[in-house]
Symmetry: C2
Subunit: 401 residues, 2 copies
Amino acid sequence: MAEQSEPRRFVPAERFPVDLPATGALMPGDSVGARRFMTVTDGRPFALEGGGRLQEITVAYETWGHLNSDASNAVLICHALTGDSHAAGPISSGHPSVGWWDDLIGPGRAIDTEEFFVVCSNVLGGCQGTTGPASVDPETGHHYGSSFPQVTVRDMVRTQKLLGDRLGIGRWRSVVGGSMGGMQVLEWGAMYPRRVASLIPLATTAAASAMQIAWSAVGRLSIVTDPGFRGGDYYDSPDGEGPWQGLMLGREIAQVTYRSAEIFDDRFGRAHHDPRREFHPWGRFEIESYLDHHGQKLVRRFDANSYLVVSKSMDLHDLGRGRGGVVAALRRLRMPVTTVSISSDTLYPPCQQAEIHDEVTAGGGSCRYEVIESPQGHDGFLLESEPMAPLITKALEEAGN
Amino acid sequence: MAEQSEPRRFVPAERFPVDLPATGALMPGDSVGARRFMTVTDGRPFALEGGGRLQEITVAYETWGHLNSDASNAVLICHALTGDSHAAGPISSGHPSVGWWDDLIGPGRAIDTEEFFVVCSNVLGGCQGTTGPASVDPETGHHYGSSFPQVTVRDMVRTQKLLGDRLGIGRWRSVVGGSMGGMQVLEWGAMYPRRVASLIPLATTAAASAMQIAWSAVGRLSIVTDPGFRGGDYYDSPDGEGPWQGLMLGREIAQVTYRSAEIFDDRFGRAHHDPRREFHPWGRFEIESYLDHHGQKLVRRFDANSYLVVSKSMDLHDLGRGRGGVVAALRRLRMPVTTVSISSDTLYPPCQQAEIHDEVTAGGGSCRYEVIESPQGHDGFLLESEPMAPLITKALEEAGN
């Protein structure tokens, strides 16, 4: 360790600006880049499931295709923990990457934008345009920071429902999403059964397991114990300090859980990033360099408080809460459900999607269950678009019958 | 988050004193509590595999039973990452817990101390009496800290071999260990084939995989990016600061990988630690409280620099290094091998122990392979003593024939 070259605390040279319009400053249809913004609250505070409230909520969303005359062709896409409204489309203002499901959404693709009106909104508590901890609280004129209340997946879904109301969508042809997106999908089925014709929950669970909570918890712990966190009020820190290192570490932990041993062995094996430092304490293997890259990349585009709030909402996800338990809630679903597993997913293991299938059908509902054989791990729901496409196409076709 | 009750950085109220005798200050046979100490270097520096050197090495060890007249009944126990020489026996000075394998070692137990002379030593780089980063460098009179060189599993085994020489043990009846202990077992077979009659490597691997490196790496990152780490030279920090929070977090991450989703679901499920704060950002689930407990417990008894050095040695473990690869190294083993998997072990998955079996037998060697069906995860090698006992008994019996 003599060379004093141990890993330094990461401070990003650049963070992509998050376009967070001041709540209330927008008119419906205002847009920044591909995103549009809608204030979905109606002058009354939005009461949250957990007891808090938000004075106003702005939702950032994107749409593709055209709503037909009887508003029967709308499909809602729900994103995962660090996703956003940019499900499809090229790099644009505020979007450093192409859409996270670009292979599946577009003209002639599985979610065909020549047939469907596709909507994706950033979740409540997020940091890509929808009201979240980095937003300015209209009651104080300052960033919410530590005062932002805990939200739940149900709060996210209620927000999406208000957006759908304003877009004139009485009933979604389908609500589709993976991971945390799939949690929203299931809640749509339970909360608004008459407002959705079919559900496509992918690589998700009816209730977060203790293991899933454990992984979220260590990720949050890395953020809140970073001295730069300042209790959540780091937006205006005089020295520009923030919990960058903690967020980076949290992401690295998560990244390991998103993939599989097989894919890591194939891609990295035991290769050294700097072979001349093989036996040096800070010499990194390729896998370490890969993780650092992913950690640093997230810090540039994501807000640590949003990470805390949204990951906690996943832990709080329990379709059975107040509904007599998960089994009862699943057995009550009556719209057709298509659920898909990735065979190597250890974070949201296939048994969780099998449970969705088993209980929906046990309740007399209709559920198709498919397993995609893939070494990609949990990220397979994002990466395995080729085998995923026909499953989604079929589910959307059946929903229209 | 308004209540300002976010998790605080952990500072232990008490840390168990680590009895680290000054190197060279001991005579062979000196003891503290149950431990004895031996300076195994002979006035010449110990050259490490990675290129560094140590002026002197003291080894802390414990023994049970009596060495027979022809020194043919000695069994060496190798411990895992945060283990130590206290493999068996009650709580005693410097040992806040009973022996980590107490169920398996003792009179009439699987490793029968009425029949065998059992030895367990703390690994090189550790912090429970064997020379490590917290030791005083005889050349400077100060703690090694950041100047402690990186050691490898092979260095640990060479140290154990020197200890065996001094104890008069020409050939071990068997070398036994799980996880990192199993790495040492395999290196014994490759480095000193005439000095060991049989190998019992449990829940281990012939070479660390990319996934195993990934988990070690995020654990180390949590320590070195803790501002209390001070580059590794925190022993004499004027304010008593140290990387306690980082070590706690590293342990929590590791603890998740040591268990299984099934055991977490069974023990904790979705139970809240403080049900009145269910929707509060800092309200913890039971699983979070469990992880915090384990993290804090380790900080009280273990040194962060040792954690770094020893976990890195596991990443560097590659039985095939300089031996034409793992397959060739395994096929060369000629002493009988017994390897055991825990069915639910995702950190050291059964395929790694199956590989040991397959290659040893492909090379014409003798290998017994058993799988213990258990939900305990990787920790099963410590916890499943009941099914483990007859497997070890049988292996030791066969080694004596």
